[in-house]
C-alpha cells in the first residue's frame, strides 16, 4: 500500500543546494517588486547572494551522499561537482549581464529570477535519480532559457531565437518523454537504480522488451542531445546563440550543456551501463550510437565553425564541437570499468569548458555594441593594440578551447581522450585529435586578427567593471586548471557515479 511519507523521509538536507536556489529565485521574484526600475543591479546582487548561499551549502554537503524525495533525488559528489560548475556559471552569467542589460536597455528584474530558476533546473538535473525528475529538471532548465533568449524583444533576432528554441525544445522534449515512457514500458519503473536492476532481466528475456529499451534509450538521447546540441540535433544552436542576448548565450552554452550532460550521464551510467545486447559483451548497447553521434558532432561542429564570420555563431559551432568531446566521454562510459573515469573526464571537461567559454563570451560581449552589432570575427582586428589585456586573455581562451597545454582545455581534452582510449574507442580518439587540430584554424584566426592584422582595434566599450571581473575569474580558472590540474582532479576523483560494474 502507498505509504504517506513523512517530512523526514524526504531527506531535504541533501537537496538544500538546489532547493535553496529555487527558493531564492522565488523570493527574488517577490523582492524585485520593491526594487526601483533604475536600481535593478540590486536584484542582481541579491541573485548573486542566492547563488553564493547555494554554493556554500553545496560545498558544505559536497561529500554527503544519499537519496532524497523518496529516491528520486540523488545527492553525491557528482552532484556536488556539477553544482559547482553550474553555480559558477550562474554567478558569472549574472556578472556578465549586469551592465549588458543596462546598455541594451532591457534591464528587468525577472531576468535574474529566470536565470536562477534555470540554474536550479540544472542542479536538479545533476541530482535526478528518476526519469520523471530528469524531465521536470529539463523543463525547469529550458523554459527560463527560452524566455531569456527572447529578452531583447522586440529585437527580431532575439524574438526569433527564443521562438525557435522554444518550439524545437518542446519538440525534443516530447521525444524525451516518449523515450522515458518506453523505458518504463520495458522495465516497469522510472527510478534509475531500479531500471539498472531490471536491465538484467530484459537482457535475459530479449525480444520486445529489449526493443523497447533500445528505442527508449535512443529517444532519451534525442531529448537530452538536443539540449547539449549534438549532431544531428544541433540545428537550433547557431540561430539561438546568435539571436539571444550575449550573456544569455554565454549562460546557456555552458549551463544547458552541464544540465543536459548531467542527465545523460545519470541515465546512461547509473541506469543503463550493463545494458548489452548479448551476454559477455563489455560495451553497452548504446555506446556505438553515442560514439557515432560524438564523431559526427566533432566533425561537423569543427568544420562548420571555420566558415563562420560572426563570433557568436562561431562560438555556437565551437560549443557544438565541445559537446562532441564531452559526448566522447559519455560514449567511453559505455565500456565496462571505464564509466567512472569517463564520468570524471566529462566533468573536468565541463569545468574547463565553463571557464574558457564564459571568458570567450565575456570578451565577445565586451566588444559588442549596445545594439547587439559588431560581433564579427573581424571586430577582433587590432584588439591587441587597443586592449592588450583583453587580447591576451582572449588568446588564452582561444588556446584553451583549442586544447593547448597549460590551459584548462588541454586538461579536459587529455582526460577525455584518455578515457576514450581506455574504453577502446581508438577511432573516436583519433577523430577527436584531428578535429582539435582543425579547430585551431578558427580559434587561431581570432588570435591572428587581434595581433597580426593591422587595424585600429575595438575600444571594447562593453568591458565594464563587472564584465572584467567575470573575465578575470574565467581567465584565472582557465589557467589554474591548466597549470594546477590536480585542484580539479582531486575534486573529481571522489566522483563515483557508476555502481559496481560486473561483466556477466
Amino acid at each position: 500500500m502507498f505509504q504517506v511519507p513523512t517530512i523526514a523521509d524526504l531527506n531535504l538536507g541533501l537537496t538544500l543546494p538546489a532547493l535553496s536556489l529555487a527558493l531564492g529565485a522565488c523570493v527574488l521574484l517577490l523582492l524585485d517588486l520593491f526594487v526601483p526600475r533604475e536600481r535593478k543591479e540590486i536584484t542582481a546582487w541579491l541573485a548573486m547572494a542566492g547563488i553564493a548561499v547555494s554554493f556554500v551549502l553545496n560545498l558544505a554537503g559536497f561529500n554527503e551522499s544519499g537519496t532524497a524525495f523518496l529516491g528520486t533525488f540523488a545527492a553525491d559528489q557528482f552532484t556536488g561537482f556539477l553544482n559547482i560548475v553550474i553555480l559558477i556559471t550562474a554567478f558569472l552569467g549574472v556578472l556578465l549581464s549586469l551592465d549588458y542589460l543596462k546598455r541594451a536597455k532591457i534591464e528587468r528584474g525577472e531576468y535574474y529570477v529566470l536565470l536562477l530558476l534555470s540554474a536550479a533546473g540544472m542542479m536538479f538535473m545533476s541530482s535526478a535519480n528518476d526519469l520523471i525528475v530528469v524531465f521536470i529538471a529539463l523543463e525547469l532548465l529550458s523554459i527560463p532559457l527560452y524566455i531569456m533568449a527572447t529578452f531583447r524583444a522586440p529585437d527580431l533576432k532575439s524574438e526569433e531565437s527564443g521562438m525557435k528554441y522554444f518550439i524545437l525544445g518542446a519538440f525534443a522534449g516530447a521525444f524525451f518523454v516518449y523515450g522515458a515512457a518506453l523505458v518504463y514500458g520495458a522495465t516497469g519503473t522510472t527510478n534509475l537504480p531500479e531500471i539498472f536492476a531490471a536491465v538484467n532481466g530484459i537482457i535475459a528475456a530479449g525480444g520486445s522488451q529489449m526493443f523497447l529499451l533500445l528505442m527508449g534509450t535512443g529517444l532519451i538521447l534525442v531529448g537530452l542531445g538536443f539540449k547539449v546540441a549534438v549532431v544531428p540535433f544541433h540545428m537550433w544552436t547557431p540561430d539561438v546563440y546568435e539571436g539571444a542576448p550575449t550573456p544569455v548565450t554565454a549562460f546557456m552554452s555552458v549551463g544547458a550543456k552541464a544540465g543536459g550532460f548531467a542527465g545523460l550521464l545519470r541515465i546512461m551510467v547509473v541506469a543503463l551501463p550493463v545494458f548489452v545486447l548479448k551476454d559477455g559483451q563489455t560495451a553497452a548497447a548504446w555506446q556505438q550510437t553515442f560514439w557515432l553521434v560524438a564523431a559526427a558532432t566533432l566533425i561537423l561542429g569543427n568544420i562548420v565553425a571555420i566558415a563562420q564570420t560572426n563570433v557568436k555563431r562561431m562560438l555556437a559551432y565551437s560549443s557544438i564541437a565541445h559537446a562532441g568531446y564531452i559526448m566522447m566521454a559519455v560514449a567511453a562510459a559505455g565500456t565496462a570499468g571505464v564509466a567512472n573515469e569517463a564520468t570524471r573526464a566529462a566533468l573536468l571537461y565541463l569545468m574547463a569548458y565553463m571557464f574558457t567559454n564564459l571568458g570567450a563570451f565575456g570578451i565577445a560581449l565586451a566588444i559588442e555594441k549596445d545594439d547587439g552589432s559588431d560581433t564579427g570575427v573581424d571586430n577582433f582586428i587590432g584588439l591587441a593594440k587597443s586592449k592588450p589585456a583583453l587580447a591576451a586573455m582572449m588568446t588564452v581562451f582561444m588556446l584553451s578551447l583549442t586544447g593547448i597545454p597549460l590551459t584548462g582545455g588541454f586538461v579536459g581534452k587529455w582526460f577525455v581522450f584518455k578515457s576514450a582510449l581506455d574504453a577502446g574507442l581508438v577511432p573516436l580518439a583519433i577523430i577527436g585529435v584531428l578535429t582539435s587540430v582543425i579547430s585551431a584554424f578558427y580559434y587561431v584566426r581570432i588570435i591572428v586578427n587581434m595581433y597580426l592584422k593591422d587595424g585600429e582595434g575595438d575600444p571594447a566599450a562593453g568591458a565594464t567593471r563587472y564584465v572584467n571581473w567575470a573575465i578575470y575569474v574565467a581567465f584565472a580558472g582557465t589557467l589554474l586548471m591548466g597549470i594546477f590540474p590536480w585542484i580539479a582532479t582531486n575534486l573529481s576523483d571522489t566522483v563515483v557515479l557508476a555502481v559496481e560494474m560486473f561483466v556477466r
Binding site: 524545437l168 533500445l214 529517444l219 544531428p232 545486447l277 568544420i303 566558415a307
Partner: protein, 819 residues
C-alpha cells in the same frame, strides 16, 4: 749503506724540481741561473746515481725495489685484480743506464749553457732537457712495463718538443723543424702501438707488469755461483748482516745455506731470517757483504712472480695462454710479445723500418741531438730489449728477426752515411747504424755486449755530436763575422752544417779537432779506443752464436764497421783537413770553455770506457793481460750486469775476428784518406770525389739519395695516405659529401622537397585541401545555408531525421543478432 737505494726517487725528483723551477721562474732567473739550475739538477742526479753504484758494489749487486713515498698505490683496482705499483728498481742494469743518462746528460747540460747562449727561450730549453731526464730516468728505473711506457712516452714528448724547439726560425726553416718533430712523433706512434700491444699481451699472459717482484732473483745461475763463492769464502762463518728492512726489500736479505731444499724450509717472516735461516752461523756476525738467503725463486708461488720469473716458470710447465677463442703455447705468445715490443724498439731506437725520423730529428739544437738522439733516448729500445732478455732469449724466432733487423739497419745506415753532406746527418745515420749493432747484439743473445756498446757509444757519439755542434757554432760565428765585417749579405742560404762549407778547421779549432778525432777513432773501432772493445764483443758473440743467422749478421756487421770507419774519416777530411772552402770556415774560431770541457771529458771516456770490459785471453790486444789487471778483471762490465740480466753471458775473445775488423777499419780509413785526403775532399763543382769517378758514381748517388728510403715511404705510404686523405677530405667529404650529398642531394633535395611541399603539396594539396575545405565549407555552408534556412520546420524535420537515424543505428545490431 743498505739504505742507499732509498735515494733512487731523488734521481727522478731532482731534475723534476729543476724543470719546475725553470718552467715557472726560468725567464726571471736569467740565462746564467737557468742554465746552472738545469745542469746542477743533472749533476746532482748523477751523484745520486753514483751513490747507488757504490751501494751495489758493496752488496754483491743485489737488486732492490724501492717504493717511493706518496706513490704507493699508483694503479690499483681491486675488483679486476689490477695492481701496478710505482716502484723503482735499483739493479746493475738500471744503475748503468742512470749513470749514462745523468753522466752524459750532465756534460751535455753544461755544454748547452755555451751552445744555447743568447737563445730567447734559453730557460725553456733547460726545462725541457730536465723534463727529458725525468722521463728517461723513470723509464730506466721503473720496475714495471707501465712505468717504462710512461717514460717511453715522456721522452717521446720531450723529443718532439726539442726537435721542434726552433719552430719559429725564419725562411721556412722553422716549418721544416716542425715537420721533423711531427715526423718523429708520428713514426714513434707506430712504435708505441707495438709497445702497447706488447704490454697488453704481457698483462694478459702474466697478470702483472712487474719485471721482478721484490725479493725475486733475476739471475739464478749467478746467485748460486755467488752464494757458493761466499759460503766457500766464509765457511761456517757466513752470517747475516742486515736485520733491518724498512721500505727497502733486497733480493735475499739475509744469509742462508746454499744447499738446495733447505732454504725452502726457511721461514720468510721478516726480521727473523737472521736467526732462523742461518743455523750454521748462529750468533756470529761477519763483516762484509751478506750472503743472500735464497739462490733461486722456487720458494715463491707462481702468481707471486714478476713477468720474467713467471715466463720461465710457465716455459718449464709448458703452459698455454688462453685468448678466449684460441689457446696458444707460451712459446708462441712470447714470440708475439717480443715482436710487438720489437716494433716499439724500432720506433724509439730508429731501426728499419721506422728509422727515417732520426736524420730529420737533427733539426733540433745540437745538444738535443747529442743527448736524446744519440746517447740516451734512442737507446731506450735497446734497454727495453735487454731488460726483457728473458722473453727474447726464449723467443728464438723473434731473436733472429731482431738480429737481422739490427744488422740490416747497421749496414744500410752506414752505407747511407757515406753520401751525406750535412755534418749532423752523417752522425745521425751513424747513430742509426750503431744502434743497429746493439739491436743485432740483442738478436744474437749478446745482451751484455749490447749494453756495453750502448755505454761506449753514448760517450763517443755524444762526443761527436757535441764536437759537430762546436764546429757548427764555430762556422756560424765565422759566417756571422764575415757577413758583419763585409757589411753585405753575400749568401742568404749559407748552411753552417754543410761539410762543403768547412775544411781546414783543424788549426782553427784544435781542441774540437782532437776530441773529434778521438770520437772518430772510437766509433771506427780502432784499438784501443772504446768502440773497438764493444764492437768486437758483438762480432765475437755473433761468431760464437754458431748459427747461420749469426754468421750472416757477423758478415753484415763487419762490412758496416768498415763503412763506419770510411764515412767517419771522410768527415774528418772534409771538416778538419784541407783548406777552408768558405770565408766562414776561414773565420771560424774555437768554442767557449763551457763547450770544450765536456768534449774533453767525453773524449777521456771514449778512450777509456772500453777497458772496463776487456776480454780475457785477448793476447796482444790487452797487452797480454795488462788491461785486465789494470781495470779489475776481464769482462767486468758484463759480470756487473749479470745479477740483473739473466742471459748476459760474456763471449770468448775471438782474436781473428778482432784482427780482421781492425784491419778492415784501418783499411777503410786509409781508403778514405786516399779518396778525400790532400785537399780533394770536395771537388771543384762542389760534389763528392766518388760521384765524379764514374766507377763509384752509382754507389755514391744511391747513398746520397739515402737508398730512396724516404722516397719509397713517400711513394708507398705517404702518397697513398695523402691520396686517401685527399680522397676522403676533398673527394669524399668535400666533393661528394658536401658538394654532392649536402648541396645536391640534401640541399637541392631539400629545396625540391620544399618546393614540392610548398608548391604542389602546400599550395596544391594542403592549400588545395584548405581551399578545397574552404570551398567545401562554403559549399557546405551553402548547403547548410539551404538547410539552415532559419525555418523551424526545416530544423524540426532534420531533428526527426536524426531521431530516425539514431533509432536505426541503435536497433541495427539487435536486428543483426536476430534477437
Amino acid at each position: 749503506m743498505e739504505n742507499l737505494p732509498q735515494l733512487v726517487p731523488l734521481v727522478v725528483f731532482i731534475p723534476l724540481v729543476g724543470m719546475i723551477i725553470n718552467l715557472l721562474w726560468g725567464a726571471r732567473l736569467g740565462e746564467q741561473w737557468a742554465g746552472w739550475i738545469g745542469s746542477g739538477a743533472a749533476i746532482l742526479s748523477f751523484l745520486v746515481s753514483f751513490l747507488l753504484l757504490t751501494y751495489l758494489t758493496g752488496s754483491n749487486y743485489q737488486s732492490v725495489v724501492v717504493n717511493p713515498p706518496f706513490l704507493d698505490g699508483w694503479l690499483s683496482i681491486g675488483s679486476i685484480n689490477l695492481e701496478i705499483p710505482w716502484q723503482q728498481r735499483v739493479d746493475t742494469l738500471s744503475v748503468t743506464m742512470m749513470l749514462v743518462v745523468t753522466g752524459v746528460g750532465s756534460l751535455i747540460h753544461i755544454y748547452a749553457i755555451g751552445y744555447m747562449h743568447g737563445d730567447e727561450r734559453f730557460p725553456r730549453f733547460f726545462a725541457f732537457l730536465n723534463m727529458f731526464l725525468v722521463f728517461m730516468l723513470i723509464l730506466v728505473t721503473g720496475n714495471n712495463f707501465l712505468m717504462m711506457f710512461v717514460g717511453w712516452e715522456g721522452v717521446g714528448l720531450c723529443s718532439y718538443l726539442l726537435i721542434g724547439f726552433w719552430f719559429d726560425k725564419a725562411k721556412g726553416v722553422g716549418w721544416k723543424n716542425s715537420l721533423a718533430a711531427r715526423k718523429a712523433m708520428i713514426l714513434n706512434r707506430i712504435g708505441d702501438f707495438g709497445m702497447l700491444m706488447g704490454i697488453f699481451l704481457i698483462f694478459w699472459t702474466f697478470g702483472t707488469l712487474d719485471y721482478y717482484k721484490p725479493g725475486e732473483i733475476a739471475n739464478v745461475e749467478y746467485q748460486e755461483h755467488l752464494v757458493a763463492q761466499l759460503t766457500g769464502e766464509h765457511g761456517e762463518a757466513a752470517a747475516p748482516a742486515e736485520g733491518e728492512h724498512g721500505a727497502t726489500t733486497t733480493e735475499g736479505e739475509a744469509a742462508a745455506p746454499a744447499a738446495e731444499g733447505e732454504h725452502t724450509e726457511a721461514p720468510v717472516a721478516e726480521g727473523e731470517h737472521g736467526e732462523a735461516a742461518a743455523p750454521a752461523a748462529e750468533g756470529e756476525h761477519a763483516v762484509g757483504p751478506a750472503i743472500p738467503e735464497y739462490v733461486n725463486n722456487d720458494h715463491i708461488a707462481t702468481d707471486q712472480l714478476g713477468v720474467f720469473g713467471k715466463a720461465q716458470r710457465m716455459l718449464e710447465d709448458g703452459a698455454e695462454v688462453n685468448f678466449g677463442v684460441v689457446s696458444l703455447p707460451i712459446e708462441t705468445v712470447l714470440v708475439l710479445i717480443t715482436l710487438f715490443l720489437l716494433l716499439g724498439a724500432t720506433g724509439k731506437s730508429a731501426q728499419i723500418p721506422l728509422f727515417v725520423w732520426l736524420p730529420d730529428a737533427m733539426a733540433g739544437p745540437t745538444p738535443v741531438s747529442a743527448l736524446i738522439h744519440a746517447a740516451t733516448m734512442v737507446t731506450a729500445g735497446v734497454y727495453m730489449m735487454v731488460r726483457s732478455n728473458v722473453l727474447y732469449h726464449n723467443a728464438e724466432t723473434t731473436s733472429l728477426v731482431v738480429a737481422l733487423i739490427g744488422a740490416t739497419t747497421a749496414l744500410a745506415a752506414g752505407y747511407i752515411a757515406i753520401g751525406q753532406w750535412d755534418i749532423k746527418r752523417v752522425l745521425a745515420y751513424s747513430t742509426i747504424s750503431q744502434l743497429g749493432f746493439m739491436v743485432a747484439a740483442v738478436g744474437i743473445g749478446a745482451y751484455g755486449a749490447a749494453m756495453f756498446h750502448l755505454v761506449t757509444h753514448a760517450f763517443f757519439k755524444a762526443l761527436l755530436f757535441l764536437g759537430s755542434g762546436s764546429v757548427i757554432h764555430g762556422v756560424e760565428h765565422g759566417h756571422h763575422d764575415v757577413s758583419h765585417g763585409h757589411d753585405h749579405h753575400h749568401d742568404h742560404d749559407f748552411d753552417p752544417q754543410d761539410m762543403r762549407n768547412m775544411g781546414g778547421l783543424r788549426n782553427k779549432m784544435p781542441i774540437t779537432f782532437l776530441t773529434y778525432l778521438v770520437g772518430t777513432l772510437a766509433l771506427a773501432g780502432i784499438w784501443p779506443f772504446a768502440g773497438f772493445w764493444s764492437k768486437d764483443e758483438i762480432l765475437a758473440d755473433a761468431w760464437l752464436s754458431n748459427t747461420a743467422g749469426g754468421y750472416v749478421v757477423l758478415a753484415m756487421l763487419v762490412i758496416a764497421a768498415a763503412f763506419t770507419a770510411f764515412y767517419m774519416w771522410r768527415q774528418i777530411e772534409m771538416v778538419f783537413f784541407g783548406k777552408p772552402r768558405t770565408e766562414a770556415a776561414e773565420h771560424a774560431h774555437e768554442s767557449t770553455p763551457a763547450m770544450l770541457w765536456p768534449l774533453v771529458i767525453l773524449a777521456f771516456f771514449a778512450l777509456l770506457a772500453g777497458f772496463y770490459n776487456v776480454p780475457a785471453n785477448a793476447g796482444p790486444f790487452t797487452i797480454f793481460g795488462f788491461f785486465e789487471w789494470l781495470f779489475g778483471g776481464a769482462h767486468s762490465f758484463t759480470v756487473f750486469l749479470e745479477p740483473s740480466v739473466a742471459y748476459a753471458h760474456a763471449g770468448e775473445f775471438q782474436g781473428g775476428i778482432a784482427a780482421v775488423a781492425l784491419i778492415l777499419a784501418l783499411g777503410a780509413i786509409l781508403l778514405a784518406r786516399r779518396v778525400y785526403g790532400d785537399n780533394k775532399s770536395v771537388t771543384a763543382d762542389n760534389t763528392d770525389p766518388l760521384y765524379v769517378n764514374p766507377a763509384t758514381r752509382q754507389i755514391w748517388s744511391l747513398a746520397n739519395a739515402r737508398l730512396y728510403w724516404d722516397e719509397t715511404y713517400n711513394r708507398l705510404l705517404e702518397q697513398p695516405f695523402n691520396a686517401i686523405g685527399n680522397f676522403l677530405a676533398h673527394t669524399l667529404d668535400w666533393t661528394f659529401w658536401h658538394d654532392y650529398v649536402h648541396e645536391k642531394v640534401v640541399g637541392r633535395g631539400f629545396n625540391a622537397l620544399g618546393d614540392l611541399l610548398s608548391s604542389p603539396v602546400d599550395l596544391g594539396i594542403i592549400d588545395g585541401i584548405v581551399n578545397g575545405l574552404g570551398r567545401l565549407v562554403s559549399w557546405l555552408a551553402g548547403g547548410l545555408r539551404r538547410i539552415q534556412t532559419g525555418y523551424v520546420r526545416t530544423y524540426a524535420i532534420t531533428l526527426l531525421l536524426g531521431v530516425v537515424l539514431v533509432i536505426i543505428i541503435l536497433l541495427l545490431p539487435m536486428l543483426q543478432s536476430g534477437s
